[in-house]
């Protein structure tokens, strides 16, 4: 595992990231950093480029241009992949898309980085033991009647998000990316997820938190970064704006965009 040195300023820094799909620029020069123990909220309208940026950071997509630094060291983007991102200590909780429905939890915890022998056969017992530990540590799973053999489709939305977050915590990530983790959740479940974001902060890790609901992100983020039409347009430190001000800022952006498009 190449986790690099422990002396670093930024858990993640992206410089001049561009992503073009043909003639369409999804990202047109994004500079973004996430400090060592910082919770950064990323907000923006649908289609602003949030998901594309997440996919680039997590190794799913390769950017057209730009560079990526993990713990202040540049990453070779030509060899970057989901597996590399994991090795660099970056874990992601995708909006409702982190788990496969028909598979048991123990497979979902380790898929993509199974514990295997040299021939590639999975050590099921070891994986189940570790999965059990993750379950016990995850939010709200003590005695909930859920075991490592439970199939994901038998879980509620909140339970699924808890599992995905528990998985991210287990792998000792320095940076956890949350891509709209509250999108499909009820009120109680949302507060659990927000508690978890606080846990990330207190455990000394960093988090990039993509969120639609401004009140949620405003409550937990140290800094909020606003992305619009493929580029960062504003950064707000904690306390600089109220939720209402933030909301009107985003509405203004939307109006501007509509004017520009008209």
């Amino acid at each position: 595992m190449d986790k690099g040195g422990q002396d670093y300023e930024n858990a993640l820094r992206a410089e001049g990231i561009e992503m073009w799909f043909g003639n369409v620029g999804a990202l047109t020069g994004v500079d973004l950093s996430v400090g060592r123990n910082e919770i950064v909220g990323l907000v923006g309208d649908n289609g602003a480029g949030k998901s594309t940026l997440i996919k680039i950071i997590t190794g799913v997509l390769r950017p057209t241009a730009g560079s990526l630094y993990v713990r202040d060291r540049e990453v070779d983007l030509r060899n970057y992949s989901v597996l590399r991102a994991h090795q660099h200590g970056i874990e992601t909780v995708h909006q409702e898309r982190s788990l496969c429905e028909k598979q048991p939890l123990w497979r979902n915890f380790f898929v993509g980085r199974q514990i295997t022998n040299r021939l590639g056969f999975i050590n099921v017992r070891k994986q189940k033991e570790l999965a059990q530990e993750i379950l016990l540590k995850s939010i709200g799973f003590r005695g909930a009647g859920i075991t490592v053999d439970t199939i994901v489709e038998d879980l509620s939305g909140g339970e699924r998000q808890g599992i995905a977050i528990g998985r991210a915590m287990h792998f000792n990530a320095d940076l956890i990316l949350l891509d709209e983790p509250t999108a499909a959740l009820g009120v109680k479940e949302v507060s659990k997820v927000l508690e978890f974001v606080d846990d990330i902060k207190t455990s000394g890790r960093a988090c990039l938190y993509i969120e639609h609901n401004l009140a949620h992100v405003h409550a937990v983020a140290d800094r909020i970064v606003i992305i619009d039409r493929g580029t960062i347009v504003n950064e707000v430190q904690r306390g600089e704006m109220t939720v209402a001000e933030l909301t009107s800022f985003l509405i203004e952006l939307q109006t501007e965009r509509q004017h520009a498009e008209a």
């Binding site: 996919k55 997590t58 190794g59 799913v60 992949s81 989901v82 597996l83 994991h86 992601t92 995708h94 898309r97 982190s98 788990l99 496969c100 429905e101 028909k102 598979q103 497979r107 898929v111 993509g112 980085r113 199974q114 295997t116 021939l119 590639g120 056969f121 999975i122 099921v124 189940k128 033991e129 059990q132 530990e133 016990l136 009647g145 075991t147 490592v148 053999d149 439970t150 489709e153 038998d154 879980l155 509620s156 939305g157 009820g186």
Partner: protein, 365 residues
């Protein structure tokens, strides 16, 4: 620290893989023992089954993985033909000694022909994979096209003729792959060994787990780090190799090659997989089910004739068993199975997203 106890909430039905289909197989055998005792109480019937079931069974094993990964391969009958032809041409024209006294046997060359046939099958499978992954043709269309292409290629290059390779029985490969141990055909043991290997690949190997996740939800598989494209190409290549193996075994058993061989396996092998309980929606596959599904299809085909009914009835009976088996899977393995039965009756299938039996949907928000 005491080890955490691993509890399971599974029922007997879901814990023992393929249990319903094993029972169904026993029922079928039992029924034929009553209706056709003279065939099914003697060992000869089982000797025959042990050899005839094997080629479609091998195909079904590969198809189980393909379908579990949410794909389909229809080209395997033609892969079988091409590979068989490669094997036959090399042995007949390149290996067999011209004089009759067999002084100059080339066992090694025959094995070489066997390996080459497997490679050709793998190559065709690899090309299928490229069509699906790189060009993006849905697998049902791509492999339907290659089904035609390779069958055509076989007919052209063989001139539509059959080739007998009777002399093959003098060579070691014949005994090793298709000989008899007492009354039991050797290929039966090979099929069981292969089934065990495929079970471990699907259920215990990294590759199999990746296939299950791809079949379940390819987007999730991608973001959790599965290299979806690469795994799919490997999958189609494997299917090609298995098609070739099936073809060589069939050719050795018949000691003959004919251009229509394997054509009939298309629907039989697919039926065996679905009778065995593998779901078309992907994400799940049952090797045990496929093994017994293959034997059910083979037994019904033999047993209908043995019962004194006209052979014309075999297809009809297989179809009825097919429907009964799939219905049985739905009622036994799904918590609210009858909802599934009603859907089948009403709509002819159920989509992956709308199953009413999911607890998630019945919970209050």
């Amino acid at each position: 620290m005491p080890k955490p106890e691993l509890k399971t909430h599974q029922t007997l039905w879901t814990r023992v893989e393929g249990l319903p289909i094993v029972l169904a197989f026993l029922v079928v055998i039992g029924a034929f023992m009553i209706t056709a005792p003279e065939s099914f109480l003697g060992y000869r019937m089982y000797t025959t089954l042990g050899s005839t079931v094997v080629p479609p069974l091998i195909l079904g094993l590969g198809l189980t993985l393909v379908i579990a990964a949410g794909e389909i391969d229809l080209s395997f009958p033609s892969v079988l033909k091409v590979s068989s032809l490669v094997f036959v041409m090399i042995t007949k024209f390149g290996v067999f000694p011209l004089d009759e006294d067999m002084a100059d046997k080339h066992d090694l060359l025959v094995w070489g022909a066997f390996v080459l046939a497997l490679l050709v099958g793998g190559l065709i499978g690899f090309l299928n994979g490229l069509l699906v992954v790189r060009i993006g043709i849905p697998s049902i269309i791509a492999t339907l096209a290659t089904l035609f292409v390779w069958e055509g290629a076989t007919v052209i290059s063989s001139g539509g003729l059959s080739h007998n390779i009777r002399d093959i029985k003098e060579y070691v490969i014949f005994d090793v792959l298709t000989g008899r141990i007492g009354p039991v055909p050797v290929q039966f043991f090979w099929a069981i060994a292969l089934a065990a290997l495929m079970w471990f690949i699907l259920n215990r190997h990294r590759f199999g787990e990746h296939l299950l996740f791809i079949g379940d939800n390819a987007n999730v598989a991608r973001v959790v780090g599965v290299r979806v494209d690469r795994e799919k190409i490997k999958l189609f290549t494997l299917m090609g190799v298995l098609g070739a193996l099936s073809g060589v075994m069939l050719t050795l058993e018949n000691k003959n090659f004919f251009t229509t061989q394997g054509t009939g396996f298309l629907l039989v092998a697919l039926a065996a997989v679905f009778i065995g309980g593998t779901s078309i929606t992907g994400g799940k596959g049952s090797i045990v089910g496929t093994v017994f599904g293959s034997f059910i299809v083979g037994t019904v085909e033999a047993g209908v004739v043995g019962s004194g009914i006209s052979g014309f009835w075999t297809r009809l009976v297989v179809g009825l068993v097919f429907i009964a088996a799939v219905t049985f899977h739905l009622t036994v393995e799904k918590p609210k199975g009858f909802a599934g039965v009603r859907r089948i009756a009403g709509m002819g299938g159920r989509g992956p997203e709308e199953g009413p039996e999911r607890p998630r949907d019945t919970r209050p928000p």
